[in-house]
Homo-oligomer: 213 residues x 4
């Protein structure tokens, strides 16, 4: 509707292609991990390989775009839920959303587990997610729904951990992650335990990629 510029057909096409491409790439990365060939992504999107490179300068960029998409979705979810009255329920919902998003995605785990992330944009988004999760978590702490030494970054990290716990069961039992989410929430709620060792991570201090050589 808003896109009324000079070559409307072309522009609309590009937008449409970009959407098709992102959808196809999301699905392909999710199912097969980061090693899925660009050619397969293009094919799933009904596009030619060259078109992928017109939209994204490299495969790494495409992957980053998808990660950002997922992360933005989670940031949104955290922001929204930070307004909720029942912080405990809100935290559960956020974490369920988060694990479910990850559960569908092999590539995310592969990317997140790397000692260094290539894309500054992804690193930033993860940090923004931590901030958003901290807002949510702070309220839960205040309401006594979560122990005092748990941070938003802890919560974000737990998303990956819960997903990974259930990952080997994923094929046979797609909902198994709910079991481990509850287990984690029970752990988060414990108040009479010894304080957790190791200082709470306040921000993910993700390293720059190492210099080549």
């Amino acid at each position: 509707m808003t896109e009324r510029t000079a070559a409307p057909g072309q522009r609309a096409d590009m937008v449409r292609n970009r959407r098709l491409l992102l959808e196809a790439a999301t699905a392909a990365f999710a199912e097969q991990g980061v090693d899925v060939p660009i050619g397969e992504i293009a094919q799933r999107a009904g596009l030619a390989k060259g078109t992928v490179f017109r939209h994204f300068a490299s495969k790494e960029d495409l992957l980053a775009a998808i990660m950002l998409q997922m992360l933005d979705q989670l940031i949104h979810s955290a922001d929204r839920l930070a307004q909720a009255d029942d912080a405990a329920a809100a935290l559960r919902e956020f974490m369920a959303d988060g694990v479910e998003v990850l559960a569908a995605d092999r590539a995310f785990c592969e990317v997140i587990g790397r000692p260094s992330l290539q894309h500054a944009g992804v690193r930033d988004a993860i940090n923004r997610l931590c901030v958003a999760a901290e807002a949510l978590t702070a309220r839960a702490r205040e309401q006594g729904a979560v122990r005092g030494d748990i941070t938003g970054t802890d919560v974000v990290l737990l998303l990956g951990g819960i997903h990974q716990t259930a990952a080997p069961l994923l094929a046979a039992e797609p909902q198994a992650w709910r079991r481990y989410l509850e287990l984690a929430l029970d752990g988060l709620r414990v108040t009479d335990a010894r304080p957790l060792p190791h200082r709470p991570p306040d921000r993910l201090d993700l390293a720059d990629p190492p210099a080549l050589g």
Copy 2:
């Protein structure tokens, strides 16, 4: 007859090379994941590429050997700790061992997270680990140190999950996993919570690799 006689030199060299190779491969897989080229492993070991294939018929076999090595170590640990008097302490020690082993290893995560495992030997070892962990866990349950609906397979799965939780911090804070281990143990100890959803996994029902096509 025994391995002391005849040609000690040659044999010793080969044993040494095999050790170098396994060490190099363990480190390389750990740092870079399963996609690390054989050539790099060979170089790290100070060997030629061909030598790797003299020791292991394929890259897959080499990877399996390393996974088996790690798994056997954990099975051993579980068996030993199942004899301990204090089941709670034994469980903590087992899990600490397990996470530490995994903490060093990207490849393990990638392999374990796959929908299907190629090597029957690795699948078997994982199942044996679950059995060994169940013995340990059963005693902890009996002693009231662990909630009633937690199985050995849960415990094994949690190893991967705890590692994954801490993975993004690994480079900057190598000991961060201890925090999440305690958090998980606190969750495991909770007795007044709602029962966990989803049925407990009794054995990892890892699928055979899908038929080609």
Copy 3:
């Protein structure tokens, strides 16, 4: 299945490259046999290695395409000559064509002499050639130009045999095969000899490749 491309005649460049490739491969296989490296074929064609695999999914497929090309040419020749009045002359011409085609080709001999052929397409083409040759041979038998117990498959097999007979002379005397063609034709014409031992082959019963193991 053998040929990868979809849209015909799109790129003039591609068609040209494909032709160059087939010519180079034909020559290379002919001179050096099936073990000629793909890299050399590519180089002769002025292409990169990868381009060969864009046109043919595997070396086996490329080889099959060339074999099929040759076989189709011979089938054509047989079909055309089956219309001729003078069956004896037609048979000589067919066999001369056939030997000359083979004479240039080491790979053909190696492929044809194998206990099993990998490509169903090539097996089929050989059988079709036998059928076409039988039509030609039948007329020659009827005209008394060929003894009664000779089949089209005999004739096809003789092409390879005549070529092989002359092969060691090929470099020094490229036309030597004509000598052995006449000798074979003289044998085929003999009528007062004892009947040939061993039953005539009616179709080449080329086995499927053996199962792996």
Copy 4:
């Protein structure tokens, strides 16, 4: 010249190993062609790979030794049969022997069909075989059992041709070559035909291998 040296036991072992090796290599080359790995030959012989290279400086040399063995056997056969009264029968027997020897051997065909033979020894043996066959053939010509313009070299070349003719049938019908031997003999016997084209080959003028590059 005489071998009367110190360690007779060792010598006996070497002789035995050489025999085992030649037998294994003959069988392996016969079944699988020249591309059979040295390792398989060694294994069949119950020897180590290194031992093969103690006996033969290269794979090419081993192959040459086996070819020479086969050729010597045929030369012997020709010499013996040249004494026989019935030259026609003798020629048939020689050719039957020859084809049968080849029939069992994929490697021979691959070697003989090459434009150039690497080993002077093999070239010489082939030429000696031609001489021996010529003696046999001369008698057959004199007795009118073979047309006048056929030479011993023709006969030798025909061995390969007859084998090649039957080769595609070899797996299914191991005796099929007899059919084509008779056909060839019938051709050789024809006396009322036009003289064969192309001059008779008197000696195989096998080229030296081309210079590298």
